[in-house]
Amino acid sequence: MSLRLRALAPGLAFIAFWIAALEVAARAGWVNRIFSPFPSEIAARLGRVIGSPAFPDALGSTIGLLAAGYLLACAAGILLGLAMGYHRPTYALLEPTLELLRPIPKPALLPPLILLLGLGAAMKVSIVFLGALFPVLINTIQGVRTVDPVLVDVARTFRRGVLKTVFRVVLPASLPMILSGMRVSLGLGFILVTLSEMLTGTHGLGAQLVDAQRAFRVQDMYAWTVVLAVLGLALALSFDALERRLIFWSSKR
């Protein structure tokens, strides 16, 4: 651990340095004290923000919507990807649709989704789902395509059926690729849930951020930004931990 800490030390020192620089700049009046981030003030506000009754609601809402949309997208992306990667006719049927929908910048789907589904949870879960689906799907197809054919032949010589071959051999063998798609999707899902909350302004961390800005509580706005940053970091670190557990074998081969 001390070794790890030593490796992190220069980076952490640099963060301390630029936070201090922001503090000095704000105190000395080199930058606009109202609009610019003022670290000591943000820290004080952060305490109040986290202690406020709005905080657990906002955090819970954002995480809940993200989890729902993201997990649905992973399940759908993996199942569809296995089918498309392993079964040529399915690929031929769905690939043109995929290529048509994939390049749409997902925020462009927010206006129609709002019209169709309103401003509530269904719309937000849908936009997260659509944003997170494609990286998982594309990577699963690619992962399945690049599974070592020897492994598939092993399943055949031991007379495993199609489903067993797909779920016991092809799926685990493609997992490193699938997980790298899931990592991209998690980032996209987080962006989209925040964006949809900012746009609808009713619940969640994104809504709090916009509320604070509109009410001119500038340092509160920065405090909510810090909350989002920490949440993003926590998601990434949890993902790393999960990945290490699931594909502990993949760098060893």
Binding site: L151, F158, R160, A173, K252, R253
Partner: protein, 257 residues
Amino acid sequence: MAELLEIERVGKTFGAPAEAIVAIRSVDLSVAKGEFVSIVGPSGCGKSTLLQIVAGLVPASAGEVRLEGQAVTAPPTGVVYLFQQYSRSLLPWLSVEKNVRFGFSHARSLSPREAEERCVHYLDMVGLADFRRRYPWELSGGMQQRVAIARALAAEPRMLLLDEPFSSVDALTRLELHGLILELWHKTGLTILLVTHDVEEAVYLSDRIALLTRRPAQVAEVFANALPRPRKPVESREDPRFLELRHELLTRLLQPA
């Protein structure tokens, strides 16, 4: 002895009819129950393809493979193909024991305890019972190939198809694996068909040796092996009958096309 396997006029062509490559012209060969037969031939002559056709992994373009009179169209029960690339044929996310378990996981009637005993039994046969909790990538190449052998045996097949299974291990390990495979063959009464480009290996291990021609392959000649059993790693290789057959096979293999 009853013929277990019959290969009859099997041919294999790759590619579209216009630019087809004939890999195998026509191969006839039969293997009796309990026999150890080797197929040797020049590199790229299509001998691995032939073995994959026998395994039901690749369809033949012509002719027929029959196992106990039944035409082979898909991987048949009781036939296991042992791959050359042991490190690619083991599932890296499963422990050694679970890899062996994969060999007979269709045997639903087994209780977990019986299944475990079967794994340990076959791992013990290849001398790896102590390594059952390890992962394949923690083992040496020779040990990995022994895990693959244990997995094949755990399926309790009637016939084992070996595709140059000793070609990617070092020379000493290869000799050890030869001893192991002969011992297992003797113990289990398996029928073995081995494909190799190593003439000495073929002569040391088998009862009969089918020599294939260059591509497109056909059987040039089948040699009966007079080398007495049990075979001994050092002495058998110095036996005049060993040297004579080796001489004959090598001479034929090295003949210009």
